[in-house]
């Protein structure tokens, strides 16, 4: 696997399609590699079968089975690029994010290979990169500590650099809050006092605090009005234009089309179609039936709920 990858890296300039995707010629690979590359990712969970009747012994020996949730998924992100992962809810998009961040549930079995900056990563390596290179904007506002004022959560605490660093971080936090339209009074609030939109902006500020190279944003826009949602994705776009990479996980196709360079369509645990933004201009440009169903279900196109089984999420 390692050697095969080196070979494809050398072919990058000459091949139009590589690593299951194509991209515009201006998107270089600094250092001859992708910022992030995921190959053959499979995530499954060990779950208990319903315990058969028969008391404690049967209960303790309840059979387990393995459920595949993500299978054989490959995707890559270049520096300077926004890749949108769009698809059905429940198709495993969040598990992709968790895998890249090394966040694994105790009963998860994860296989596959992840490279970051050309280096093959272990689970420990991914954990070490979390917050130091790769930052995460989570989906659930429940990720905020309900008992801590939000300013403090964004700054973090116990800094190695002592008072000077704490002050620098406070300045950065205030800059970020100001940029995202959060007033100075907001840093004294607790999460329950924030509106849904404010909470999401606080989460985005957390991710930007440590000047990451790669941002994994898992549904950063629900609950924001159109203007704020556009601003949120535009900020991710600016981050990419400044040389960072963004994996934008979203169900919002319209929004993805406005900022992304490439769209990876996700269904039932894998990427079924990786295509350019331009292909979404009309359903004829789209190859996979699920991608076309997604297009037709948009409120502005037809609001069509597909009847055939197998397309539904």
């Amino acid at each position: 696997m390692e050697r095969g990858t080196q070979r494809t890296h050398q072919d990058h300039q000459s091949q139009e399609v590589h690593h299951h995707h194509s991209h515009a010629p201006h998107q270089a690979h600094p250092g001859g590699h992708h910022l992030l590359q995921v190959e053959g990712l499979t995530v499954s969970f060990r779950m208990y079968e319903d315990a058969p009747a028969g008391g404690l012994r049967a209960f303790l020996n309840a059979p387990q089975r393995t459920v595949d949730v993500v299978h054989d998924l490959s995707i890559s992100v270049h520096a300077g690029e926004v890749v949108a992962v769009v698809g059905a809810s429940g198709s495993g998009k969040t598990l992709l994010a968790d895998s890249i961040l090394g966040l694994f549930e105790p009963n998860a079995l994860v296989t596959g290979t992840i490279w970051y900056n050309g280096e093959r990563q272990t689970a420990e390596g991914l954990r070490a990169l979390r917050g130091r290179g790769i930052s995460f904007v989570p989906q659930s506002v429940a990720c905020l500590d309900p008992l801590m004022r939000v300013g403090k959560q964004v700054r973090g605490f116990r800094h190695a650099g002592g008072r000077a660093e704490a002050e620098a971080r406070a300045r950065r936090q205030r800059e970020l809050f100001a940029r995202y339209g959060l007033g100075p009074e907001v840093e004294r609030l607790y999460p329950f006092q924030l509106s849904g939109g404010m909470a999401r902006r606080v989460l985005l500020c957390c991710a930007l605090m440590d000047a990451p190279q790669l941002i994994i944003a898992d549904e950063p826009t629900p609950g924001l009005n159109e203007e704020l949602a556009l601003q949120a994705v535009q900020d991710l776009r600016d981050f990419a234009n400044g040389g960072g990479g963004v994996m934008l996980i979203t169900h919002d196709v319209e929004l993805a089309l406005r900022v992304a360079d490439r769209i990876a369509v996700f269904q039932d645990g894998t990427v079924v179609e990786e295509t350019s933004v331009a292909a979404f201009a009309s359903p004829e440009g789209l190859r996979h039936p699920f991608t076309r169903a997604l297009w037709r279900a948009l409120p502005e196109h037809g609001f069509a709920a597909p009847v055939e089984e197998g397309v539904h999420a």
């Binding site: 969970f45 779950m47 319903d50 769009v86 698809g87 059905a88 809810s89 429940g90 198709s91 495993g92 969040t94 989906q139 659930s140 506002v141 429940a142 006092q193 509106s195 849904g196 939109g197 404010m198 549904e219 629900p222 609950g223 924001l224 009005n225 159109e226 704020l228 949602a229 169900h251 196709v253 699920f290 169903a293 997604l294 297009w295 279900a297 948009l298 409120p299 502005e300 609001f303 069509a304 709920a305 597909p306 397309v311 539904h312 999420a313």
Partner: protein, 193 residues
């Protein structure tokens, strides 16, 4: 009729008043879109109307009577964060049973798969949890349904599917529907049949 009469509300004694002598009403079968920027109190109003919050003064009435203190509320709320309204230690079928009689047809139309029934909330995605919350709200046979950014976490296909079910149920039972959404195309779709 669902009415808010002269309601006043703030989150604490030193917090600003969010609603001050506010009145509002919805007739059976009516669809109302609540529209305001982020942070203007749309969710607060949804919670007041459905009894999750009590107004400081004024009252919320259904057909002239205050919301009952016991039993299923005739105004059901489907919120923005399904993970916050499901007991993390209850399997999904137990959470559904809170609303009474299981309606297998409704579950099927919402795309709820049988194998999800024995799972815990953390074993489901946000969109899957939301389908359960919708099923639970509808199974409680409400007269009014409050949908606060209900489909904001759903992909377009699922969104179309669940709204189709909600609108069919609302029409069939002559239910009043109050909703918030940041999506202008969606609001247009829901208001203009």
């Amino acid at each position: 009729m669902l009415e808010a009469r002269n309601i006043t509300f703030r989150y604490g004694p030193r917090e600003p008043l969010i609603y001050d002598g506010f009145s509002f009403s919805v007739r059976p079968g009516e669809r109302v879109h609540l529209d305001a920027p982020s942070g203007f109190g749309k969710t607060t109003l949804c919670r007041l109307l459905s009894g999750y919050l009590r107004p400081l003064s004024g009252e919320v009435l259904v057909d002239g009577a205050p919301l009952p203190a016991r039993g299923a509320c005739p105004v059901q709320l489907i919120g923005q964060h399904p993970e916050r309204v499901l007991d993390p230690r209850m399997r999904m079928q137990a959470s559904l049973a809170e609303a009474g009689e299981m309606d297998a047809g409704l579950l099927a139309r919402l795309g709820i798969r049988d194998e999800w029934l024995t799972r815990f909330p953390h074993e489901l995605s946000g969109g899957e949890m939301q389908r359960f919350c919708i099923a639970r709200a509808l199974m409680a046979r409400p007269k009014y349904l409050i949908a606060d950014e209900t489909s904001t976490m759903l992909d377009a296909v699922t969104q179309a599917q669940i709204w189709q079910v909600i609108l069919e149920e609302a029409d069939a039972r002559n239910m009043g529907l109050v909703f918030t959404t940041h999506s202008r195309p969606l609001a247009t779709r829901l208001l203009i049949p």
